[in-house]
């Protein structure tokens, strides 16, 4: 035992010495930038999920300048290929790596085990470890606000929603949007068309046109292209963007968009690593943390609606308003949240029903 302790002390001494020397070397070479890698699931483009992460990367470059050295790999398929890319980034000396798609979860965890000195942050996942953090935004808060805008601007009381796949993340958005719309106009009916694809501009456009043909005069989408906004522009109805400000695709149609803002989270993460205090965290921030923002409202949106949106935004931000505050009924009339309560985070993450106001049944 004694020898063991002695051995430990000696080891500890050497460890400290090595760290001190390394730190000294680090101080001497203070211009050695922190290497940061990003893994993107799709091309950056100029709107959409990946584009918003790229804006975050540019924000940390603006913030930290030559103290950091960033790189990214785009269009990385989820799965085995992702593991190779993530490992390569770690092997190349990146000490902070952001993996920005759900399907990178297992590869990230696996590579993180092999590189304990590298800090990883994985977007939208639920597996964490000592050097893997997760981060996600409460997109549904933005959806609720855009619902208010849509509900105020529709004349036909039919709103079209083009959606990719019936997973909780998408369903939550549909429900929050519907509740926002019905908070200002209880006659609203939201019709959902599932296109079974995250990205197929042609099909997304046809879905939007089908909804417009059925009387929708505001359309929105949870898919990755800008085709729905374009369709609205051509058919002279309104549209609500998602992920990014999509106003240039439909200057007249685009009322606003619920956008993702990762800038603050990325800056905080870099600060934590630079300060040596990086620890595994689980961030799920929303409007209060500036992780979800509305794109500028179209000039067509009247002042009273703007005021209403702003009031709701502040109420969500300071916690007075929760998009899923009871009573919440699903569209078959069953009460899901009684009055006076709010939906728990766990229930939010596993949402599998439509709220009142959405047409049809969830596939």
């Amino acid at each position: 035992m004694k020898t063991d302790q002695k051995l430990q002390r000696i080891t500890a001494f050497f460890a400290v010495a090595v760290i001190a020397v390394a730190a000294g070397a680090g101080l001497l070479r203070a211009d050695d930038p922190l290497k940061i890698g990003f893994v993107y699931v799709s091309p950056i483009g100029d709107a959409g999920w990946t584009y918003q992460h790229e804006l975050g990367r540019q924000a940390i470059i603006a913030e930290f300048g030559d103290r950091i050295d960033t790189s990214y790999v785009e269009s990385v398929p989820e799965g085995a290929d992702a593991e190779r890319v993530i490992r390569q980034l770690a092997a190349d000396g990146n000490t902070l790596i952001f993996t920005t798609s759900f399907g990178y979860m297992n590869p990230t965890i696996k590579v993180a085990r092999q590189f304990p000195n590298v800090t990883f942050a994985h977007a939208t996942g639920y597996k964490r470890s000592d050097n893997v953090s997760t981060y996600l935004a409460r997109f549904y808060e933005g959806r609720y606000l855009t619902g208010i805008v849509a509900g105020s601007m529709t004349k036909s009381n039919i709103i079209g929603y083009v959606a990719a796949f019936p997973i909780p993340e998408v369903v939550r958005g549909i429900n929050a949007f519907t509740r926002g719309a019905r908070s200002v106009n209880p006659d609203i009916e939201v019709r959902v068309v599932w296109v079974s694809s995250w990205y197929d501009p042609g099909k997304e456009r046809e879905a939007a046109e089908a909804l417009i043909d059925q009387g929708a005069d505001v359309v929105t989408q949870h898919t990755d292209s800008t085709a729905v906004v374009q369709a609205a522009q051509d058919r002279e109805v309104y549209a609500i963007g998602y992920h990014s400000d999509m106003s240039k695709y439909g200057p007249d149609a685009h009322l606003t968009a619920s956008t993702h803002v990762w800038n603050g989270y990325y800056i905080d993460s870099v600060n934590a690593v630079l300060g040596g205090g990086a620890s595994s965290t689980d961030v799920w921030g929303g409007i209060a943390q500036d992780m979800v923002e509305l794109a500028p409202l179209n000039d067509a949106v009247p002042a009273d609606v703007r005021a209403q949106v702003e009031t709701a935004r502040e109420a969500i931000s300071n916690g007075e308003l929760h998009p899923f505050a009871g009573p919440v009924n699903d569209n078959s009339g069953t009460e899901r949240v009684p009055a006076g309560e709010v939906l728990s985070d766990g229930d939010l993450l596993s949402m599998d029903y439509y709220v009142e106001g959405v047409q049809g049944t969830l596939p």
């Binding site: 091309p43 042609g202 456009r205």
Partner: protein, 309 residues
């Protein structure tokens, strides 16, 4: 909106959704009838889409865009033709490589044009005819490319089965040695067929980037090239069945979107598989005669030919 308007909207949508498939599949049909299997349709479509889009942005005229798309499709098909017909590489591998190349190449040259707005191709109502109720909006109020796709369908059908050139083309596809022996230049004829396939795939791409969704976005064909390829086989190399298959696939896709938009309770999973299912079933039904399938399939499809061999 009443039922009639909805029906017209669905039918017009059907034609629009089917048109890129008609172009691409007719082009591939000619190539395959000459005995060449080109799996690079998706790649040629993408290159056509991006070239057409860029030319439209630069000149402001979508008709120049269409020409550029045709040229780009032909250019890429020439690469394929040279590799498979002159250097005798494996057609399947080369075609797959062509698609991968086309995806990457189009993304690369289109990088600066993502998100650039353009004025897409506008419908050209045919005077008087377009004003007929129901039939007018259905048949006579389309953009130039849709009319052109019908013209091309008629041309391909006539060429294949009623012209001397078509006879030669089919002879080359059936038995290149026999065709060679009676003095036809197999390589030259196949080159032309492959180029036609490239031009048509380019047109299909142009339709997507100039009409369907007037924009350029990476990989915007979303697999339509592969569907066109499958259509040719399921239609047993008959232009008429290709046309039926393309509109059927487009139509059921559009119908399934409308069914959801109206608010009927249907499973989106089922709806997503229906276009594939229905197209396969219908085409399998109309071409269930195994002997005829064997007769229609070009016997030398995918086989390399060397004049000296």
């Amino acid at each position: 909106m009443d039922g009639m308007d909805t029906a017209i909207a669905i039918l017009v949508g059907t034609i629009r959704a089917g048109t890129p498939l008609v172009f691409a599949a007719l082009g591939e049909l000619i190539a395959e009838k000459s005995g060449v299997l080109n799996l690079g349709v998706e790649g040629m479509m993408l290159v056509g889409a991006v070239a057409g889009f860029i030319a439209t942005v630069l000149t402001g005229n979508p008709y120049f865009g269409i020409l550029a798309a045709i040229a780009a499709g032909i250019l890429l098909s020439l690469v394929f033709g040279t590799l498979t017909q002159v250097l005798l590489t494996n057609q399947v591998a080369t075609g797959l490589a062509l698609t991968i190349f086309g995806i990457g190449m189009s993304a690369f040259i289109g990088l600066d044009f993502v998100g650039t707005p353009i004025e897409g191709l506008k419908p050209i109502p045919i005077p008087f005819l377009a004003d007929i109720p129901i039939v007018g909006p259905l048949l006579f109020n389309h953009d130039a490319l849709i009319y052109f796709s019908i013209v091309m369908f008629a041309l391909v059908s006539w060429f294949l089965f009623h012209s001397r050139g078509g006879l030669i083309l089919r002879a080359v596809g059936e038995s290149h040695h026999a065709a060679h022996a009676i003095g036809y230049s197999v390589v030259k004829i196949r080159f032309l067929a492959v180029m036609f396939g490239g031009a048509m795939a380019g047109l299909a791409g142009a339709y997507l980037s100039l009409v369907y969704t007037p924009q350029w976005a990476e990989n915007m064909t979303a697999g339509r090239g592969w569907i066109a390829l499958a259509l040719v086989v399921f239609a047993t190399w008959r232009p008429g069945r290709v046309l039926i298959g393309a509109y059927l696939f487009g139509g059921i896709t559009i119908l399934s979107l409308h069914v959801q938009a109206v608010g009927y309770d249907v499973s989106s999973h089922l709806v997503a598989t229906l276009p594939y299912l229905a197209t396969v079933i219908v085409l399998a039904m109309i071409s269930r005669d195994a002997t005829k399938i064997r007769l229609n399939a070009p016997a030398s499809l995918g086989k390399p030919f060397h004049p000296g061999a």
